[in-house]
């Protein structure tokens, strides 16, 4: 919303803002906040530089194609390794996780913020927050010992009806597959996506909801006309937080997945790998050059995460004048 009166802080020239009033407290706070900002950028830059230098030295020794080789052989010399399988596994398992988690999480968040009576909403919200605190290795153990054996029925069913797509073909055996990883990651990111979405939904101004109500909107129509449009950018931010966790999740994936260095056509059959899982699996026994190879794969994950976040920001910014944040 464009208003004639703007807060003075945003109209004042930047140099006036930075100079402050000259009082000691202001100076200390200015130094502290500026220092924190610079430190953050410096840390990011240091990580990027470190990853890049080590990655370049590893890629120069790679006798395979770093982007397309379906192999990770860093123990013998010359080294032959490529990230194709890892990138595929990371992205596919994260997409599956998002497809499962985001609708469920938004549903839970709406239930807590707009449907449940307060007596029920508070304990449900508490339990959801509690789930976010469970260590990922615990999810991994639960996934390997409980989830994997219980999924065979579902996978058989998927195979019966969707097997013709090849994507959902299931051959007998423990389904330590990318799809299982996706389900497990979905369960792990539901709490964070739910919590952030819930907070955004709670902040929907009452006047927006009453606008819909007064037109004769049912509760669902209020959600559709007022709550979801207002919360849209919040849902995207929440999803990105969840996606960040899914992309980088290590222990749970390493515990459940049975890795291989090829792209399995079916999502339900074991095989594949993710960046984080691969690093965890190899890091301990890796020597110098082999570690650099792992760091190179880490750099790719870093870049993917940056791209995903950038894309999310673009989506949010594209419809800024409709965002409702200014109203």
């Amino acid at each position: 919303m464009k208003t004639d009166i703007e807060p003075t802080s945003s109209t004042a020239p930047p140099q006036d803002r930075a100079r402050g009033t000259g009082r000691l407290g202001d100076k200390i706070f200015l130094g502290l906040s500026r220092g924190s900002g610079i430190l953050l950028l410096a840390i990011m830059a240091a990580i990027a530089v470190f990853l890049t230098i080590r990655a370049i030295s590893a890629i120069s020794e790679d006798h395979g194609n770093f982007l397309t080789t379906f192999e990770w052989n860093t123990t013998s010399r010359p080294m032959v390794f490529g990230i194709a399988v890892l990138a595929y596994g990371t992205i596919v398992s994260s997409i599956i996780a998002m497809l499962i988690a985001v609708p469920i999480a938004v549903g839970i968040a709406l239930f807590i913020s707009h449907y449940a009576p307060r007596r029920l909403a508070t304990p449900v919200a508490y339990v959801i927050d509690l789930l976010a605190a469970v260590p990922s290795i615990v999810y991994g153990l639960w996934g390997a010992l409980f989830l994997v054996p219980h999924l065979t029925g579902l996978y058989q069913w998927l195979d019966d009806y969707l097997g013709w797509t090849k994507l959902f073909e299931y051959n007998d055996g423990a389904p330590r597959s990318l799809f299982t990883i996706g389900i497990l990651l979905a369960i792990m990111i539901i709490p964070i996506v739910t919590s952030v979405s819930r907070e955004v939904f709670r902040q929907v101004p009452q006047m927006h909801e009453e606008a819909a109500l007064a037109l004769g909107a049912t509760r669902w129509e209020v959600v559709r006309m007022s709550v979801l449009p207002f919360g849209r950018s919040g849902i995207i931010s929440a999803s990105m937080l969840g996606l960040g966790r899914a992309l980088g999740e290590t222990m749970a994936v390493a515990t459940v997945l049975s890795p291989s260095y090829d792209i399995v056509p079916s999502l339900l059959d074991p095989g594949g790998g993710t960046f984080a899982q691969n690093i965890a699996a190899h890091f301990k026994e890796a020597d110098g050059p082999a570690r650099d190879a792992l760091i190179a794969s880490g750099l790719v994950l870093f870049v993917i995460t940056l791209l995903v976040n950038g894309a999310a920001r673009l989506i949010i910014a594209r419809r800024k004048e409709y965002s409702g944040a200014a109203a």
């Binding site: 919303m1 606008a211 819909a212 037109l215 849209r232 004048e321 409709y322 200014a326």
Partner: protein
């Protein structure tokens, strides 16, 4: 279709707190009725009972009867959602849907009520915006966001949105209190035009406004903090402002309290 409102013995609560007590009045169709009274006297609460918005507030409940012609809004089996589709409301602060364009804002209520052809929708949107004296200002930018308009324009957009669904009654809760004098004047002129078609009830803190726009005025008051608000009297506006029958009304209007 403007309809007559006939309220009898209406009491509204927030939880255990009784906000207004035993209010009875009649609001004539095609007229403007103004509610005045000190803050906290329950005039806004009463207004919100007329389209069943009061019960949206947690703990809000209502006893008594509100007849819209011959239909009791609080009768058994009456759906509050359908009540709100026939009794429109305009709020204190302009609240266009921020994610919708000007066109979509006006069409929002229609889309809830059923499906319209695009040409039909365009016709109704134009008619409603003209009815709200906003058409000339926005006809070239119907696809721009409604939140980009000035405060006064936004409020007229909200009025256009409310009248687009052809309600029987239009409730206005201090519609000008967030606006500058020129925008206020525009809305007051508009109210004068709208009363040809609708039954209008307006809550206002501005007594000159009540005197300017309304045909009848109701004065609400409360005995003290924590006491329920009551209707003191309702009469022709001219009479309320010149020769009210209750002393408290005269005290309030002449500025001796409140």
């Amino acid at each position: 279709m403007a309809k007559r409102i006939d309220v009898s013995g209406l009491t509204a609560y927030y939880g255990t707190h009784k906000a207004i007590e035993d209010i009875s009045m009649t609001v004539e169709p095609r007229s403007v009725t103004a509610f005045i009274g000190p803050s906290g006297c329950g005039k806004s609460t009463f207004l919100r009972t007329l389209n069943r918005m009061h019960e949206v507030t947690p703990g809000g409940r209502v006893e008594g009867k509100v007849m819209l012609d011959d239909e009791n809004l609080y009768g058994a089996g009456v759906d509050p959602v359908s009540v709100r589709r026939t009794v429109g409301m305009v709020f204190q602060r302009p609240n266009p849907f921020p994610t919708m364009s000007i066109f979509e804002n006006v069409a929002a209520g229609l889309k809830l009520n059923g499906s319209y052809k695009k040409s039909e929708l365009e016709g109704i949107v134009e008619k409603s915006l003209k009815g709200a004296n906003l058409w000339n200002e926005v006809k070239d930018r119907l696809n721009k966001p409604g939140a980009g308009l000035s405060g006064g324009q936004q409020q007229r957009l909200c009025i256009a949105r409310a009248i687009a669904v052809e309600p029987d009654v239009l409730l206005m809760d201090e519609p000008c209190s967030a606006l500058d004098p020129i925008s206020t004047l525009a809305i007051e002129d508009l109210i004068g035009e709208l009363k040809e078609r609708f039954t209008i009830v307006i809550v206002t803190h501005n007594m000159q406004q009540a005197a300017r726009v309304s045909d009848r005025t109701a004065f609400f008051n409360l005995a003290g903090v924590g006491q329920p608000g009551k209707l003191i009297e309702i009469d022709e506006t001219e009479r309320i402002f010149s020769n009210p029958s209750v002393q408290a009304t005269e005290d309030y209007i002449s500025g001796r309290f409140g």
